[in-house]
Amino acid sequence: MPELTEVYAPVEVDRETQLEMLRRMQRVRSFELTVASLVKKGELPGAVHTSLGQEAEVVGACMALAPTDYMTGNHRSHGHPIGKGASLPPLMAELLGKSTGVCRGKGGSMHLADFSVGSLGESGVVGSAIPVATGAALSAHVLGNGRVALCFFGDGAANQGCLHESLNLAAIWKLPVIFLCENNQYASTTPARTVLSVDRVAQRASGYSIPGVTVEDGQDVLAVYAAVKVAVDRARRGEGPSIVEIMTYRYSEHSEGLLHAGAYRDAAERESWIARDPLVLHRARLLTAGVATEAELDQLVSDVEDEVASALEFAVASPLPEPAEAYADLFTTPIPQFGGMV
C-alpha cells in the first residue's frame, strides 16, 4: 500500500500562493464574522454553521486543487466555496435569500454551490455529498480530463455508510478523489472519541488499500496544503484516492446561536486552540520569512474586509426572489404543476 510520507517533505510554495492563502483565510474569517453578527441581529434566516478556527484546513485543502477541480462539502459550508475561489457577493446574497444569490435563493447557508469554480455543492445531510464527489472523480477519470475531486466531511460523517461505500468504490476504480476529513473533534455536542472507533479517521485507509494521513497541526495552512497536494498529485497521476485528515477545531458553537444543554467542550481546550489561530500563525510566518511586510499584510486584510463589506452591501441591496421563482429550477426540462395550486 502506498504511503503519503512525502507529506512531511517541505513543499515549495511561491510568494503569491502564500499570500493568497492568507487572503482566502482572511476572506473566510471576515465573511464568517459578518455572518455571525447577522445571525445575532436576527437578519439571517435558517441554520448557520461557521468555519471560524478551521480556516487553515479549508484554504490549505482548496488551494491544493486546480481551479477546474471539483469539490463538495457539508453543512459547515461557507468556507469551502470561498476557499475554492468563489466570488463573495453571490455567496452573501444567497445567505440572505436573495435572487442574486449563487443558488438564486434556493440553497441558503447549507447548500452553497458555485459551479464556476468547481464547487458542486454543500450537503446539509451529513455524508451525503461524499458519493457525489466520488462520481465527479469518476467522470474526470472516464472523460480523461485530468481533474480531481475533493470532498470535505467531518469526524461525525466518518461513521456514515456512504463514506465506506465511496472509499471502496474509489479504491477499486482508482478514482482521482481526496476524502478530506475535517476532524474538529466534535459532531454537534458529541465528542468524536465517544462515537468513532478509531483515534484517527485516516487509520481506516488501510481497509481500502489507499494512503491515509493525518495532519496533526491542522492550524498550519502550509502543512495542510502540503498533505493535500501530495494526495492531489497522486490522484492526478491516476494512482487513485487518499484519505487526508486534518485535526482542527471550531471556535463557535455547532451552529450560530445554538444554545446547548451540556458542557460538552472544555473552555480551556477551546482557549488553547484559539491561542494557535491559523491566521495569526500564517501571518507570523510570512513576516518571519520576509514574504511580506506588516503594511502589505494589513493592506491585504483591509482589502478583504472591504470585499466582504461590499459583498454584504450587494446582498442587502439585492431583491428577494419573486414567489413564482419557487417553481423554477426543479427540472432542466420543466413539468408544469397540473391544475396550479389550490
Binding site: P45, G46, A47, E94, G97, K98, S99, G101, C103, G105, K106, G107, G108, S109, M110, H111, S123, G124, V125, V126, G127, S128, G156, A157, N159, Q160, G161, C162, A187, S188, T189, T190, T194, V195, L196, H260, A261, G262, Y264, L320, P321, P323, E325, A326, Y327, L330, Q337, F338, G339, G340, M341, V342
Partner: protein, 329 residues
C-alpha cells in the same frame, strides 16, 4: 393540568415510559446533551446505558433498534430530522416493516422511530421534508402525526406500548406551542380521529401542523357563516376512515390539508378513499391543500407561501362550497 409545549410533551411521554419499563431505551444523536429538548436530565434519570448517543449512522442504529426490539428491548429512536430517514430507508422498509410478516409472525418489533418535520424554518431542501406518504405506501409501519402537545404525549405513550413499529412524524412548526395537559398519565388510541370542530357545510381533514392552520381557517369561516367540520386523523396508519366518511356523508364536501408534497400524498389517499366509499354523498370535488411538487427553497420569500396555511385552507373551503369559482385545470 400543566401547561407544556409540544416538545416538552414528547419528553414527558418518553420519561414516563422509561420510568415505567426498563426495556424502554432511547437512541439518537446528541440525546445525552438533550440537544433537541426531548430528553431533559435523562442521563441523570436513566443512565448512559439507556440514553445512548448514536454516531451519525442512521442505517446502523435504525437497524440495531429493530434487532433489539426483536429480542427484548423496546427502543425509542430519535432521528431528529425526518430528512435523515432516507439514510436508513432500507432498514425501515426491508427490515422494520417486513420482518414480522416474512417470518410468519415469529418477530414482534416494539420500536418507535421519531423524526421531526422541520419545515417553514428556512433550512432549505435538506432539512424540510415531510415524508410520511412514502412510508404509508409501505405495509407494516404504523404512523402517527401529532397535531399538538396533547396528541404528541398521548399518542407517543400508545406507540411505545404497541408491539408494532411506529413512525412518529413530529411537526416542528408546533414545537413551542403550549397546551394544558392532564396531570395523570394518559394515552390516545391509534386509529381514532379527533373531531376537532363539528360543522355541517364542509369537512376539513387536516394533518399534523395543518390542523392548527385549519383551526384558524374554520374559525374565520364561521365568522363568514360557513360551518366547517374539522377532523384530525391523529394517525395515518391506521387511518380512521369511518369518521371521515361519516362527516362527508353529512357535509357532502371535503378539503384535505396535508403538508406533504401533493403527488401520492396522504391527501391523495384520503381523496381516493372518500371517492370510493363516499361517492354518493359528494356534492363537489374533493380539494387538496398540499405543498406543491417542488423541493423546499431556502429564501423565506419563496418558502413561506408553499405550505397549507389558514388562508389557503379557507380559500379551498370556499371553492368546495361553490363560493368562488374553481380554477380550471
Amino acid at each position: 393540568m400543566t401547561r407544556i409545549s409540544y416538545l416538552a410533551a414528547i419528553g414527558e411521554a418518553q420519561r414516563e415510559a422509561m420510568a415505567a419499563d426498563p426495556r424502554v431505551i432511547l437512541i439518537g444523536e446528541d440525546v445525552q446533551s438533550n440537544l433537541y429538548g426531548t430528553a431533559p436530565n435523562f442521563v441523570e434519570m436513566f443512565g448512559v446505558e439507556r440514553v445512548r448517543n448514536a454516531p451519525i449512522s442512521e442505517e446502523g442504529f435504525v437497524g440495531a433498534a429493530a434487532g433489539a426490539a426483536m429480542t427484548g428491548l423496546r427502543p425509542i429512536v430519535d432521528l431528529t430530522y425526518a430528512s435523515f430517514m432516507y439514510m436508513a430507508m432500507d432498514q425501515f422498509v426491508n427490515q422494520v416493516a417486513k420482518n414480522r410478516y416474512m417470518f410468519g409472525g415469529q418477530a414482534s418489533l416494539p420500536v418507535v422511530y421519531r423524526a421531526s418535520m422541520f419545515y417553514r424554518s428556512s433550512t432549505a431542501a435538506h432539512h424540510s421534508d415531510r415524508p410520511y406518504p412514502m412510508f404509508m405506501n409501505v405495509p407494516g409501519l404504523k404512523i402517527m402525526v401529532p397535531s399538538g402537545a396533547y396528541e404528541a404525549k398521548g399518542l407517543l405513550r400508545t406507540a411505545i406500548d404497541l408491539d408494532d413499529p411506529v413512525l412518529s412524524f413530529e411537526d416542528a412548526t408546533l414545537w413551542t406551542k403550549k397546551q394544558d395537559l392532564p396531570d395523570e398519565e394518559f394515552r390516545i388510541p391509534f386509529g381514532v380521529a379527533n373531531l376537532v370542530t363539528e360543522g355541517t357545510d364542509v369537512t376539513v381533514v387536516a394533518i399534523a401542523g395543518a390542523v392548527e392552520e385549519a383551526r384558524k381557517a374554520v374559525a374565520a369561516l364561521a365568522g363568514e357563516g360557513v360551518s366547517a367540520e374539522l377532523i384530525d386523523p391523529r394517525t395515518l396508519v391506521p387511518l380512521d376512515v369511518e369518521t371521515i366518511l361519516k362527516s362527508v356523508a353529512k357535509t357532502g364536501r371535503l378539503v384535505v390539508a396535508d403538508p406533504a408534497h401533493r403527488t401520492c400524498g396522504a391527501a391523495a389517499e384520503i381523496s381516493a378513499l372518500v371517492n370510493e366509499y363516499g361517492f354518493d354523498s359528494l356534492k363537489a370535488p374533493i380539494l387538496r391543500v398540499n405543498t406543491p411538487d417542488i423541493q423546499i427553497p431556502f429564501s423565506p420569500s419563496l418558502e413561506r407561501p408553499l405550505y397549507p396555511s389558514a388562508r389557503r385552507i379557507q380559500e379551498a373551503v370556499k371553492r368546495a362550497i361553490g363560493a368562488v369559482a374553481s380554477a380550471s385545470p
